[in-house]
């Protein structure tokens, strides 16, 4: 059966017809891809706030968009808009402000930040005879803070996007920590698979490089402290790796049923071949020592896609550069793939763009699809000393590589036992 509208399980084939991306490397597919295959890093010393006295002073910040004053939701909205506008334009779908499907949004949890707390605390309406939250509450009773209210609800980012693009139905905001981007895509695939919609806008965005978030991850010993030079900090899969670097970014995929994409003559950029998910009940931040949840996630994705391990031409790794993730991820891949993993290229986009957290699965989806489109695998940079515990690995070290890739698996794993793998194909079978 060639170019069928349904897959090996009889479900609607889901394709990608538009993509958009923003990372610390720049705005748009073109700039990002150019730097990515050149092995450039977007990690820099943080300028947004004082890092005095902190163990980690670097991040992959997106400082080139006009967001003033900075807040995580404001930047998350701006980056998501950039990515979504690019994707919708490429897909050439719907009328302006009238996207014909729902929004699935991976976005960071929202909370008031220090500049806003300070602002409220020192307002005229604040009762200075009170302390702490009592004083903050008194200021809010004295005056409505409508702008802040609109920005700091958990529904805020989704609400802004739904308004701007006219997506249909409730905007779904979700968090599965660092697997969120993958989950957003999964939800889109499922909605199209059920026949709820012909198309879906799947977005991942994260602009949370602020003081408190940095300190929090640092206290969990999750961050790299190799601050100098910043570009050298992320050392995914290598022996020197010591943690991830926080980063910002957003990406958007326009998903569509193959049938509807063909009917409107859309240009097809790739296929959502399959998804796998399995939660881990072992620990809040650590992976089951036997790797079973990750192994099952990867295996489920392969089965869902109807592909054998040898048909996967490239693994777009979660590759956070933490000692634990990279070891467990590669171990699990070897268990799920068997010996063929030793010769399957695997690289970490994060070695260049850092860990874009809630956005990572979406950002890396775009790069996975571009890998197939361009026949070029982005490298794992800063890969200088192999980790002897990993055994044989083809980490595409330091230099991009030409390759004819027709299927990619992209992994996303997060705190709270979240595991998602998505298989992308180059074209419908």
């Amino acid at each position: 059966m060639s170019n069928s509208n349904t897959d090996h399980k009889g479900r609607s084939v889901v394709v990608v017809t538009g993509m958009g991306v923003v990372t610390s490397l720049g705005q748009g597919q073109q700039d990002n891809w150019r730097d990515l295959i050149a092995g450039k890093s977007g990690i820099r010393h943080i300028k947004r706030f004082s890092t005095e006295g902190l163990r980690t002073t670097i991040a992959g910040c997106v400082d080139f968009l006009d967001v003033d004053p900075y807040s995580a939701p404001a930047l998350s909205i701006a980056m998501a808009e950039s990515a979504a506008s690019e994707a919708i334009e490429q897909a050439d779908i719907g009328k302006k402000g009238d996207f014909p499907g729902p929004l699935f949004l991976a976005t960071p949890p929202t909370e008031l930040e220090w500049p806003q707390r300070r602002e409220i605390y020192t307002e005229e309406g604040a009762d200075s005879s009170l302390e702490g939250y009592d004083r903050l509450l008194s200021a809010c009773r004295a005056e409505k803070h409508e702008e802040m209210q609109r920005l700091f609800q958990f529904a805020s980012v989704g609400e802004h996007l739904a308004d701007k693009y006219g997506t249909k139905g409730l905007p779904i905001s979700l968090s599965t920590a660092c697997a969120s981007g993958g989950t957003a895509i999964q939800l889109g695939v499922e909605a199209i698979g059920r026949g709820d919609t012909d198309t879906a806008l799947c977005v991942g965005t994260d602009g949370t490089v602020n003081l408190e978030a940095l300190v929090r991850f640092s206290l969990l010993s999750a961050l790299s402290t190799r601050n100098n030079p910043p570009e050298g900090a992320m050392a995914s899969f290598s022996k020197e790796r010591d943690g991830f670097v926080m980063a910002e970014g957003a990406a958007c995929l326009v998903l569509e049923s193959y049938e509807s994409a063909k009917a409107r003559g859309a240009n097809i950029l790739g296929v959502l071949a399959g998804c796998g998910e399995h939660a881990d009940a072992f620990h809040r931040t650590r992976t089951s020592p036997d790797g079973m949840p990750m192994i099952r996630t990867i295996s489920k994705a392969l089965v869902d896609a109807g592909l054998k391990p040898e048909e996967i031409g490239y693994v777009n790794a979660h590759g956070t550069s933490t000692p634990e993730n990279d070891k467990m991820e590669y171990f699990s891949l070897k268990q799920a793939f068997g010996d063929v993993m030793e010769t399957t290229p695997i690289s970490s986009n994060k070695s260049m763009i850092g860990h874009t957290l809630s956005a990572a699965g979406a950002v890396e989806a775009v790069f996975s699809l571009m890998t197939m489109q361009n026949g070029m695998i982005p490298p794992t940079i800063n890969y200088n000393t192999p980790d002897p515990d990993m055994g044989k690995i083809d980490a595409v070290p330091n230099k991009a590589r030409e390759a004819d890739v027709s299927a990619v698996i992209s992994n996303s794993f997060g705190f709270g036992g979240q595991n998602v793998s998505v298989v992308y194909g180059r074209e419908p079978k």
Partner: protein, 406 residues
């Protein structure tokens, strides 16, 4: 497989609130005359519905797990455990390994003392902004961060109760509760899942949460009044954990599980809350399910918050049902439980299912003219969700045959 097999059954309920814990305590409270439990002093001028005293260790047995959680996660993990137990699935590792979970979550408690320290030292005449780095470095606890992350309620449920099929967390206040119910209904109906755990938790007893909602002056800051008596003047928060086990009829029958009720339809939508828009949303959603409704025996479990114009419009929508020949018995559960955002609609769904399985309406939840004592036997209940800021939705729950009923 017949379409009946894809019916969405409610086979487990876990409730924890100011009224008590578990289905029996809640049924007894909603049929009794004791009224709501309110604390008007601790967070004055804001009344809240405080959580009943509870021994969390009965559901969260490892002390190490309990220590890792702040109250909202304890409330959620505990009530999820109640729902799993109620569905007869506790310790059934094989089934829990296939159970798909959607948790509707905000985020957890902040450390109020630390926040106060930072505010005091970085504002005013002796401000030293750089000082906040030092305070945060020394005072932030890693465990508190994990207790704040939205998806870590789901993470804790996986760890404590071994639910591992899939794990997703929806955010967005009331929208999150509504979307999780709608998505679970769609996944089970379509055959994408057979067994799901959905729900949420809210801890009302925290000033940092009150602050978020007082930014837009959404709170009721006066002596307690029930929802409709507040006339859109504000919401009263309640500490609530509400989880449900949803299951395809085929799956439930195969394991001999009984149902409280089945879900017949779920609709959702959004509007910008211009005048009349929320009412229009509810009306058009209601029309899509009107063919499935029994006009005589319909009850309404309203999730009204007591806040804003949309609240008033929901009452107009409900009152107008008379005109269409419906004669609903109405109960507004926020008046008893308080408003619980992400957990609110799941709590309403739980009370609706309970009422259908008992074959009677609860006593009125408030003294307003909107709620009257009702003698009839409900056959269907419409649960409403109108978010305090955004999101409108409806869920229609129907009773099941006696041989299938709990």
């Amino acid at each position: 497989m017949s379409s009946d097999d894809r019916q969405v059954w409610i086979t487990g309920i876990g409730l924890l609130s100011s009224l008590g814990e578990g289905v029996d305590a809640h049924w007894s409270a909603v049929t009794g005359k004791n009224g709501p439990v309110i604390d008007e002093d601790s967070y004055a001028p804001y009344p809240v519905h405080p959580l009943v005293e509870v021994d969390f260790a009965t559901q969260i047995k490892k002390r190490g797990d309990l220590r890792q959680m702040e109250p909202w996660q304890r409330i959620g993990t505990y009530s999820a455990g109640l729902a799993i137990e109620d569905a007869g699935l506790t310790g059934n590792l094989e089934m829990l390994d296939t159970m798909d979970m959607i948790v509707a979550a905000g985020s957890g408690e902040r450390d109020a003392d630390m926040d106060q320290k930072v505010l005091e030292s970085t504002t005013g005449e002796n401000a030293n902004k750089g000082h906040s780095n030092e305070i945060l470095k020394s005072e932030l606890r890693p465990t508190l961060f994990l207790a704040q992350l939205s998806n870590l309620l789901a993470g804790n449920i996986s760890i404590v109760h071994k639910v591992t099929g899939s794990s997703r967390t929806y955010m967005g206040e009331e929208l999150a509760g509504l979307a999780s119910i709608e998505n679970a209904f769609n996944r089970i109906s379509s055959g994408q899942s057979d067994l799901m755990l959905i729900g949420g938790a809210n801890n009302a007893q925290r000033k940092d949460a009150l602050l978020i909602f007082e930014l837009g002056q959404n709170l009721w800051g006066d002596k307690f009044k029930s929802v409709w008596e507040r006339d859109g003047g504000g919401l009263v928060m309640g500490s609530v954990g509400a989880f449900l086990v949803l299951e395809s009829a085929a799956h439930a029958k195969a394991r001999g599980a009984k149902a409280y009720a089945k879900m017949s339809a779920v609709t959702s939508g959004r509007c910008s809350r211009g005048e009349g828009e929320a009412r229009k949303q509810l009306l058009s959603q209601f029309e899509t399910m009107s063919g499935k409704i029994d006009k005589e025996q319909i009850g309404v479990m309203s999730g009204a918050s007591g806040c804003g114009q949309a609240n008033v419009e929901e009452l107009v929508f409900l009152s107008d049902l008379d005109v269409g020949g419906y004669n609903p018995v109405m109960r507004t559960y926020g008046s008893l439980l308080g408003h619980s955002f992400e957990a609110h609609m799941p709590a309403g769904l739980a009370l609706a299912a309970l009422s259908l399985s008992k074959g009677e309406y609860p006593a009125p939840f408030e003294e307003s003219e909107n709620e009257e004592i009702a003698e009839g036997i409900p056959s269907q209940i419409l649960v409403t969700s109108v978010g305090h800021w955004r999101g409108e939705g409806l869920a229609l729950v129907t009773g099941v045959d006696s041989k299938e009923a709990k």
